[in-house]
């Protein structure tokens, strides 16, 4: 088990390799379909994403009516491949060093990871409770107009469990598994 702690950097994530199980401690910003489309269209990010990690997640959130404070009650990853058209640009233009999601991403993202120093972390899809437990505080809410699941949530996490499935050296577990399963598929069909 490896650890990655805040502040994050391209140098630190360059150390990580496909297959590494990593516990992340520090800040995460959620961002999914609407946010990626928004950034792709050239809009300014409401938060500085330099050296930050984006988490593909639309959490279940509850607001305390008295204090106005938000809590995240479920927060697993959403399917990342939908951001494939935009992710490389967000890596290039905003300087993010990590993407957390599920299902993996494609060649464009893999190339951007290599070029700019970024890693794709796979969280366990559907494990919304285990992952929400690792959220220690909700520090901000941006672009609320996209709807709560689509907004940017600034979160502080501790020992957030992920697996590196695409590293900054051009390796992708998803590519490997797809290729090996394709070979088996051709035999069983």
């Amino acid at each position: 088990m490896k650890r990655l702690s805040y502040p994050f950097s391209a140098e630190a994530v360059r150390e990580l390799k496909v297959g590494d199980m990593v516990l992340i401690t520090g800040k995460l910003f959620t961002g999914r379909d609407a946010v990626h489309k928004y950034l792709h269209e050239g809009n300014k990010s409401p938060v500085n994403l330099k050296n930050q990690i984006i988490y593909h997640c639309g959490p279940v959130t509850l607001k305390d009516k008295k204090t106005g404070k938000w809590t995240v009650t479920a927060a697993g990853p959403t399917t990342s491949i939908r951001e494939e058209p935009y992710q490389w640009e967000v890596i290039r233009d905003h300087g993010i060093v990590g993407v957390i999601g599920k299902g993996g991403m494609g060649q464009k993202t893999l190339d951007a990871c290599k070029q700019y120093g970024c890693v794709y972390f796979h969280a366990v899809g559907g494990a919304a409770q285990v992952l929400a437990e690792k959220i220690k505080s909700v520090d901000g809410l941006y672009l609320e107009e996209f709807g709560l699941p689509e907004a940017i949530w600034e979160l502080t996490v501790e020992d957030f469990p992920v697996v590196v499935t695409m590293d900054s050296h051009g390796n992708s577990l998803h590519k490997e598994v797809e290729a090996s399963s394709k070979e088996i598929l051709s035999k069983v069909l």
Binding site: T79, G103, V124, G126, G147, E150, L173, S180, S181, V188
Partner: protein, 332 residues
């Protein structure tokens, strides 16, 4: 006794509340009893509990299958790590009474009711329960207007929740609920046979090929290890719907049609040789189960529809007590 959710009996109950002036002890007792069992409120409460349990607890048959799969993965692999987290998540969601997965999915109700049932009135109660469940955080604000992108935050809207009624000869009402997440819905598929690229013809062998292909194509994106509902035949719409309805079957049941029972097992075995594994990390369990049905088709069409369900297989059901509208029995 009549079903209390019938308009006639609802009216009756309201009528008994009206005469307020009389003060014999007996009447008072009756009044309290009537208040407690206000049929609409009770039905909403029972439906709310159904949503809570469905969103937070994996049914026993699924949990058992998942535990078997967990035991099979090699230790110290990312696959076994994923299955451990899945296990922890099931325990935690149940304990905290919070959603297993943040994508609480499309809310799909199946209502099996006796003749003379008031479907529209029941629909309104379902909607109220869904709004309440959203406020309580059992459901995420998950319903988006496809034209405007607006999310009303209530889980109500055009086509939401999805509600299907079936008239039966039973005296009691059964309500089944499936919460189907978007990730696994996105990898669900429909094939039209023959499929030249796969060499799949219009027979069960062709069906086998396309179903396995769909699991290969899904890779880890549907939050595997997954479970399939499959329909052979039907038009495009019915075929997809019937495939989804197969998700109502328990994973350990047996298909009464021998050819399909055989094919179901064969597909599971073969898919587990693909090595895609939990989350697509590589591993032994790619598919937990495959449940198949068939529907007639027109000579020109031969559709095979596949509904992929993630490991967080949220399905539950209950029997409503005919008198009290409380939960008489859980179905899974």
């Amino acid at each position: 006794m009549d079903y209390t959710f019938k308009e006639t009996s609802m009216t009756k109950k309201v009528a008994t509340k009206k005469p307020k002036g009389k003060s014999t002890p007996k009447k008072v007792v009756k009044k309290i009893a009537t208040k407690k069992t206000d049929p609409k409120t009770q039905i909403i409460d029972s439906l709310l509990e159904l949503i809570r349990v469905t969103s937070t607890v994996v049914p026993d048959d699924v949990a058992k299958t998942l535990m078997k799969a967990r035991a099979q993965e090699e230790k110290n692999t990312t696959a076994s790590y994923a299955m451990d987290i899945i296990n922890d998540n099931m325990e935690l969601a149940k304990f905290k009474s919070q959603p297993l997965c943040q994508d609480t999915g499309t809310v799909i109700f199946f209502i099996y009711h006796p003749p003379g049932f008031f479907q529209n009135a029941f629909k309104e109660l379902i909607k109220k329960a869904v709004v309440k469940a959203t406020q309580k955080g059992y459901l995420r604000q998950n319903s988006v207007n496809s034209l405007t992108g607006e999310n009303a935050g209530t889980n109500l809207g055009e086509g939401h929740p999805s509600i299907h009624f079936y008239e039966t000869n039973k005296k009691e009402v059964e309500v089944k609920l499936v919460l189907k997440g978007g990730g696994c819905e996105n990898v669900s598929a429909q094939y039209s046979l023959p499929d030249t690229a796969l060499g799949a013809g219009r027979d069960l062998e062709g069906v086998r090929k396309v179903v396995i292909d769909s699991v290969y194509k899904a890779q880890g994106k549907g939050c595997g290890p997954g479970a399939l509902g499959v329909c052979i035949g039907g038009d495009r719409a019915d075929s997809s719907y019937n495939a989804k309805k197969q998700l109502l079957r328990k994973l350990d049941d047996k298909n009464p049609i021998p050819e399909l029972a055989k094919l179901e097992n064969e597909i599971v075995e073969t898919c587990n040789k693909l090595g895609i594994g939990p989350m697509g990390f590589g591993g032994k369990t790619t598919l937990l189960s495959c449940k198949m049905t068939h529907a007639n088709r027109v000579p020109a069409s031969f559709f095979v529809s596949i509904s992929y369900m993630c490991w967080a297989f949220r399905r539950q059901g209950l029997v409503l007590d005919a008198k009290k509208n409380t939960i008489k029995k859980w179905l899974y």
